[in-house]
């Protein structure tokens, strides 16, 4: 018999450092945690096999739609998974989650206080990782890689009229969609934007 307070939690995150930190934090809370990185193709099978009480997923993962589909096609899934928001009834904590870039799906009928504690931990870990990442970027030893990423960010900011944070997120999303390294994506962004006759784009 498993402890009534212990939940089976599945973490889906492509950032190993962050996933590991969250894994440790939730383990310390007494939950049984499984991490799932990158390869989304076994995701459906894995969710069916593990039948987790809760799934925590990076908002920017393309696999969010996969999870939502599984929940909607619940006839083949014994455990319906619903968006955290529906049960928590707490717009503020959902906003905090969205800002931190974390979303979660919980099995029907779970007590919200236990879910809330896990959610707060996840938000804290995602926020902490965000600060850590900013630090890491600054001190990163591969200066040439950093320069490429910085240049791509700058070009995107100029072309898209967006801020640095969004430019970084854009690069990251491109990297996830293409399953490439950030620096490779950054280089191709530079190549394409340099080829484009920038003075004419964006204006009529």
């Amino acid at each position: 018999m498993k402890d009534s307070r212990s939940l089976d939690v599945l973490i889906i995150d492509d950032e190993p450092t962050r996933a590991e930190a969250l894994f440790d934090a939730l383990n310390a809370l007494g939950h049984k945690v499984v991490c799932h990185l990158s390869d989304s193709r076994r995701l459906c099978d894995q969710v069916s096999e593990l039948s987790p009480d809760m799934v925590i997923i990076d908002m920017d993962s393309p696999n969010r739609d996969t999870l939502e589909s599984m929940a909607a096609m619940s006839r083949s899934n014994p455990r319906p998974i619903v968006f955290f928001a529906e049960k928590a009834d707490d717009r503020e904590s959902i906003s905090a989650a969205i800002s931190a870039g974390v979303s979660a799906y919980v099995a029907d009928g779970l007590q919200t206080d236990r879910v809330k504690a896990i959610m707060d931990t996840a938000i804290a870990q995602f926020d902490a990782y965000h600060s850590l990442r900013t630090e890491l970027e600054k001190t990163k030893s591969q200066l040439s890689e950093r320069k490429v990423v910085e240049k791509a960010k700058g070009m995107l900011m100029k072309h898209q009229g967006c801020d640095e944070e969004q430019a970084y997120k854009t690069l990251r999303k491109l990297a996830m969609d293409r399953s490439q390294k950030l620096v490779e994506v950054a280089q191709s962004v530079i190549d394409i934007l340099e080829l484009t006759t920038l003075p004419n784009a964006g204006k009529r």
Partner: protein, 345 residues
């Protein structure tokens, strides 16, 4: 025509990198937003759930949405309930069912040169009868025309979508590689993912959404009800800018330039590059502009609600009331200064 100062001019709109994000990209790159006094940042989103959540919670002002999405959000299907509206359809058609090259070969002895959906369905049904395992089909998102069209076609072919096949979900960017690895036998998705599969030889476009439901609204521009109420002039300005972009896209002379602009990061980037020399045999018929394309018609809202009910996503209710609450052709007409159109019901 109501041309008044927009309540808000700095806007953030979301898009998903599919070919039908083109109206948003063109409105920005060709200055149609600017001409309406709007300063728009476009945010690439990796999944539809993010589009819904970020619009619901005000992180995005509005977004390209799957046409059932504002209805599903208003009904609270698969998420918390957030009343949403759409006053503009961005595109019509654009989906197709792609089968793996292997499956298509297996069916081909029974298929004519350009088979219709019934013939493909028939051949598939017979093929399923010879198998021990169920074939696996993928779609991207449960509240989408793609998902409904796949189910509709399978059912019409005498194939039970819940029992005779396995339906799974796969992100569009991973469809082709998932098929290459024999994990799925086919999928229904939007462009460019069908043409691209055919070009790289991994799959064959077997039938199109247009053949299942001709002239069906595919993507809409969606905002929350609350946002629409608070920003009527900005909303109208956005609709005008996007309709101008849709019209620009309708001229074939502009297509090479449109493709060049879509290749820019963060839009379609690499996935648009091979599209320059596409020759699709079957009619995908994606369109952005024309009579009946851009007005959010009530009949489409009804069709979507019907599908939600038919496939057990929604327990049912007053369809007409919900359709009228969410699909706002009155806002569309006012924004464009059109006289009250005959109701597109």
């Amino acid at each position: 025509m109501s041309i008044a100062t927009p309540e808000k001019t700095a806007l953030k709109l979301g898009f998903v990198p599919l070919l039908d994000c083109a109206p948003l990209v063109i409105a920005r790159e060709k200055g149609f937003f600017e001409a309406e006094g709007l300063n728009v940042v476009l945010s690439r989103e990796s999944n539809w759930a993010n589009i819904r959540d970020k619009v619901s919670f005000g992180l995005l002002d509005g977004a390209q949405m799957l046409s059932p999405m504002p209805l599903a959000a208003t009904l609270g299907l698969g998420s918390q309930t957030t009343p949403m509206v759409t006053a503009l359809a961005l595109s019509m058609n654009g989906n197709a069912v792609t089968l793996s090259a292997e499956l298509y070969r297996a069916l081909s002895p029974q298929l004519r040169d350009r088979p219709n959906p019934a013939e493909v369905g028939n051949a598939l049904k017979q093929w399923i009868g010879t198998l021990r395992t169920k074939p696996v089909f993928a779609t991207v998102y449960p509240y989408s025309c793609q998902h409904y069209q796949l189910r509709y076609w399978l059912t019409a072919s005498g194939i039970n979508p819940d029992d005779d096949v396995t339906l799974i979900a796969v992100p569009p960017t991973q469809m082709i590689s998932t098929m290459r690895d024999h994990m799925i036998d086919g999928y229904c998705a939007g462009e460019p993912w069908n043409s691209l599969a055919q070009q790289c030889g991994e799959g064959r476009v077997a039938l199109t959404g247009y053949q299942i439901w001709p002239d069906s609204i595919e993507k809409v521009f969606g905002v929350t009800q609350r946002w629409a109420d608070a920003h009527p002039h900005t909303h109208a300005a956005l609709i005008r800018a996007l309709v101008n972009a849709c019209e620009w896209l309708s001229f074939s002379d502009n297509h090479p330039e449109a493709l060049e602009l879509l290749k820019l990061p963060p839009y379609l980037d690499q996935s648009a590059i091979p599209l320059g020399h596409t020759d699709t045999v079957l009619p995908i018929m994606q369109s952005f502009f024309g009579p009946g394309v851009n007005c959010p018609s009530l009949s489409h809202a009804h069709l979507m609600l019907e599908q939600m009910e038919r496939w057990g996503q929604w327990s049912g209710g007053d369809r007409d009331q919900i359709a009228r609450q969410v699909y706002r052709h009155d806002i569309y007409s006012n924004a464009l200064g059109l006289d009250r159109l005959s109701q597109h019901a």
